[in-house]
């Protein structure tokens, strides 16, 4: 795995003065595309977190006489939805659930997948076979199908959609973790630790983890974009959030009936999903090239 193993070699030859992560951070800050993405994402995150204190209209209160008002209506800068609820407010509040169900699965899978991958990669032998062959089975399912199958079987709900997406993302992360760990396992400093009498657990925790977390983390960030799209997609199908909760995928679904009345209003929640997804993709690309110190 080229992406996974390359940054490792750099760790050994990194300049001592600033340390590896200092250099990476400095390179990332100098990249304008990454910084613009980070800024936009930060804005979306902060507005979602502080939504109740922004003086927005109540995202749940609708009115039958003010349904589907266009952009620029007085009191509703982005119009109102099919039940007369304020769009701006629902888009901002919608970020709370949408970001949670999009990012939490990747975080969960990052933790579980890393543990599985490091155990498999460090120990090799039967532990490796048992873990990696089980993971191969999940690779035999296209990811969208797997997510929908698990969600469909468990039933609709926020928790179930987080569980199903976590299961979808464990296999790819575990594979990357395993391949990085395998390449670290036989390096001199691990041998040295072993020779000095460190236990397997200590070596894995201290010496291996410290060197594999970076590459796995970068890989995990590249999955957030897919996860956002899938999580909102599950809600769009009616398998995630339930009405009247504001959530971008669900809003896209309920507004679908309005495309003949006010088409661009109906497309708005998708713009938010797109913005977050492309933001994370570009940021992850930026992080990867910042870690590639040879250039």
């Amino acid at each position: 795995m080229a992406i996974a193993t390359e940054p490792l070699r750099e760790i050994a030859i990194v300049e001592k003065r600033r340390g590896y992560w200092g250099t990476v951070g400095r390179r990332l800050v100098r990249d304008p595309v990454s910084m613009i993405c980070a800024g936009i994402l930060l804005l979306i995150f902060l507005s979602a977190i502080f939504a109740p204190w922004l003086g927005l209209a109540d995202p749940f209160r609708g009115s039958m006489i003010t349904r589907l008002r266009p952009f620029g209506t007085e009191g509703h800068p982005l119009g109102t939805d099919e039940l007369g609820r304020d769009m701006l407010s629902r888009l901002i509040y919608g970020g709370r659930l949408s970001l949670l169900i999009g990012i939490l699965p990747v975080f969960n899978a990052f933790v579980i997948g890393t543990i599985l991958g490091v155990i498999a990669g460090y120990n090799g032998g039967w532990a490796n076979s048992a873990i990696m062959r089980t993971i191969d089975v999940f690779y035999a399912f296209p990811s969208v199908l797997l997510a929908i199958a698990i969600s469909g079987a468990l039933g609709a709900g926020v928790l179930n959609s987080i569980v199903s997406l976590t299961i979808v993302f464990i296999p790819p992360i575990a594979r990357v973790a395993e391949s990085v760990t395998t390449s670290v396992r036989n390096l001199d400093f691990v041998d040295a630790a072993r020779a000095s009498g460190a236990s397997a657990l200590t070596i894995m925790r201290v010496h291996v983890m410290g060197n594999v977390l970076g590459p796995i983390f970068v890989y995990a960030t590249s999955l957030i974009s897919v996860s956002m799209i899938l999580a909102a997609g599950l809600s769009f199908l009616g398998l995630g959030t339930r009405p009247p909760q504001p959530e971008w995928g669900l809003m896209l679904n309920t507004l679908r009936t309005a495309i003949y009345v006010d088409p661009w209003l109906a497309a708005l929640p998708g713009v938010m999903i797109f913005a977050v997804s492309i933001g994370f993709n570009l940021l992850s690309d930026g992080l990867r090239s910042a870690m590639d110190i040879r250039n």
């Binding site: 399912f141 296209p142 990811s143 969208v144 199908l145 929908i148 039933g155 997609g233 998708g270």
Partner: protein
């Protein structure tokens, strides 16, 4: 070569078995009684027991799995709970439509991805490269169900050029009456493989151009157009392999696009199965789609081994 083929084929057997096991377990781990959806609220205990026996839900799970998998090997995936029809024929009818959509999208996505990728890789770090790379990133980042909605808004609602939903009446023919229904969903679906193929091919072209043989070609006086042809030839096998896998992803992931366009494929079937809690139909559809994916993987590996003489791992 032969050893590699044999190993690869043998390896497929446990995978197929495990896939079937996962499909089976998935549905049986789910909460709720599978009979709920067909039993009337005031059903007698007798009727319930009779139905339970009829669908085999009264036996232990391993026995149910054994019966299910041996029947499946014989081409019997059980009957749909909701409408009583054989699952296999329902799935095969729908697979045809999904396959049509996914193949159209793959061809389009592959052609565009090859073009953008080759151009971006060849003219690396110019504005052409930046443009193609941006299109690729937008392609992999866009929520495709939303893109489908936007295309419907533009081409159906506002311009009124193409139909918004459905696949036309009657069985499929290659006439405008039907093809016009295919255009929007296929374009929407093509965006994902387009982005992925572009990124793969761009990186490939970079690697190929840094090879010594390219310098040798130029040194012996070959024109840039002929050099480019060599680059294409070297990039093609990997690009085809990537595309083969993408076709599998599109088949399995078509549910979102099929929902937007009410396309009568496997996604539509899955939707029905999930919301009516029709477990045999759900199991059967997932199994067929997953097996498609497994065999597509196999075909891609074998094809690559045939095209690329370097793969002779024993």
């Amino acid at each position: 070569m032969f050893v590699y083929l044999a190993k690869r084929l043998l390896y497929t057997i446990p995978i197929v078995f495990s896939v079937a096991l996962v499909c089976f377990m998935l549905v049986h781990l789910s909460p709720g009684d599978p009979l709920v959806s067909i039993l009337p609220a005031d059903a007698s205990a007798q009727l319930e027991a009779r139905l339970r026996e009829q669908y085999g839900f009264d036996r232990p799970l391993p026995v149910q799995f054994w019966i299910w998998i041996t029947n499946a090997l014989g081409g019997d995936l059980g009957n749909s709970i909701a409408n009583g029809r054989p699952v296999l024929s329902e799935v095969l009818n729908a697979v045809g439509n999904t396959l049509l959509l996914a193949c159209a999208a793959s061809i389009l996505g592959f052609a565009l991805g090859m073009f953008f990728g080759l151009v971006a890789g060849y003219f690396r770090d110019t504005w052409i490269d930046k443009l193609a790379t941006s299109i690729a990133i937008a392609g992999v980042s866009v929520p495709h169900y939303w893109l489908g909605m936007v295309l419907v808004i533009i081409f159906s609602v506002q311009l009124n050029w193409l139909p918004a939903v459905g696949a036309g009446s009657g069985s499929w023919t290659w006439t405008w009456a039907h093809v016009q229904y295919l255009i929007l969903p296929a374009v929407t679906m093509a965006v994902i493989p387009m982005g992925i193929v572009t990124r793969t091919v761009r990186a490939l072209v970079g690697d190929i151009l840094s090879n010594d043989f390219v310098d040798a070609l130029r040194a012996k006086g070959l024109g840039e157009r002929r050099v480019f042809a060599h680059v294409v030839k070297n990039a093609a096998p990997t690009a085809i392999a990537v595309m083969g896998l993408q076709l599998g992803y599109l088949l399995g992931g078509s549910i979102l696009i099929e929902t937007v366009f009410s396309w009568p494929g496997t996604g539509f079937l899955l939707n029905t199965a999930i919301f009516q809690r029709d477990l045999p139909l759900l199991q059967g559809t997932i199994l067929v789609l997953a097996l498609f994916f497994v065999f597509l993987n196999l075909a891609v590996d074998l094809l690559q081994a045939m095209i690329d003489p370097r793969i002779k791992r024993g």
